[in-house]
């Protein structure tokens, strides 16, 4: 059977039970269970420190009303971070390579920020469609451009995450196939390819973390415009 490089993204299922459900629920196991202790175990302390760091980073530029979004944004970030990083382990499945899931995350959250702005401060929200200082003849064109850029935001959010992760996994699979295929033929080139694979894996770990951060950061920026 020919190896198709896109087979790794097919949602795997065993006897009709999809693995995507398990892959999405598994990160919950890695998070600390709430207890009444004052000092937790090391894992819980580490994760608490990390989530405090994330919360401060995301919520500092936000005004008071935006702090109501702290829980959903930080938990979204933790979920995306863990899902992306778990996908780099061997044989695992990454749910965020599925466009359907990323669109399901991006579209409702973006729409929520937009509707919050339109409901609470409609003229200020619509005012974002025209940057300050535009020359008068350009105004109609710029409003069209800004509206398009506003409406394309959820698509961009979803596709950015999907494309980055899918491209990374595909590259890893291609280069590792090259390494293995070259091993009996040209061992030195195979070692070089293995070095590239090592560097690529480091890059993918970074990309996994950065993409989760960017997704949530952009959502918080869209929120800041509208709240």
């Amino acid at each position: 059977m020919n190896l198709s490089f896109f087979d790794q993204f097919a949602s795997p299922s065993l006897l009709g039970i999809p693995l995507i459900l398990l892959s999405m629920l598994f990160p919950a196991l890695l998070l600390p269970m709430p207890n009444n202790r004052w000092i937790n175990n090391r894992l819980a302390t580490l994760q608490l420190w990390a989530s405090h760091l994330m919360t401060k980073q995301l919520m500092t530029p936000m005004n008071k009303k935006g702090h109501k979004w702290a829980l959903i944004l930080v938990s979204l970030m933790i979920m995306l971070l863990l899902i992306n990083l778990l996908g780099l382990l061997p044989y695992t499945f990454t749910p965020t390579t599925q466009l359907s899931m990323n669109m399901a995350l991006a579209f409702p959250l973006w729409l929520a920020t937009l509707l919050t702005g339109l409901r609470n401060q409609p003229s200020a929200s619509l005012g974002h469609l025209l940057p300050e200082g535009t020359p008068t003849p350009l105004i109609p064109a710029l409003i069209l451009i800004e509206t398009t850029s506003l409406l394309i935001r959820p698509l961009a959010l979803g596709v950015r995450l999907t494309a980055n992760l899918t491209a990374g996994h595909l590259l890893i699979q291609l280069i590792s196939t090259a390494t293995i295929t070259l091993l009996p033929i040209m061992p030195t080139v195979s070692i070089l390819t293995a070095l590239i694979l090592f560097l690529l894996t480091i890059l993918e770990v970074a990309v996994a973390m950065i993409q989760a951060y960017v997704f949530v950061l952009l959502l918080s920026l869209y929120l800041q415009e509208n709240i």
């Binding site: 059977m1 020919n2 190896l3 087979d7 097919a10 795997p12 065993l14 693995l19 398990l22 892959s23 598994f26 196991l29 890695l30 269970m33 937790n40 175990n41 090391r42 894992l43 819980a44 778990l86 382990l89 061997p90 044989y91 695992t92 499945f93 196939t177 293995i180 295929t181 009996p184």
Partner: protein, 84 residues
């Protein structure tokens, strides 16, 4: 103690069918069993005073093995060094 109240590790091999018969296989029963298994793993390996990477690493290794098993049907059909 009596058979229904013993944990799986304390049940002898010959008593296993009898122990299985006393199990609660309803969804709540299974969920309770899963929760008990998870808390015993968590309390033994992760929720300790001076834990290290071992507790979580065992969990991740188990997850990798589970994913391998889930994908086995598909993976077993791939053959390397095939000239297309």
């Amino acid at each position: 103690g009596p058979l229904p109240e013993r944990r799986l590790m304390d049940v002898r091999l010959g008593e296993l069918p009898a122990w299985l018969a006393t199990c609660n296989f309803s969804p709540q029963g299974l969920l309770g069993g899963v929760r008990k298994a998870w808390s015993s793993y968590y309390d033994k390996y992760i929720n300790v005073r001076r834990g290290g990477p071992a507790g979580i690493s065992m969990l991740l290794a188990g997850y990798c093995l589970l994913s391998y098993g889930w994908n086995y049907q598909h993976i077993s059909k791939i053959s390397f060094l095939v000239s297309v």
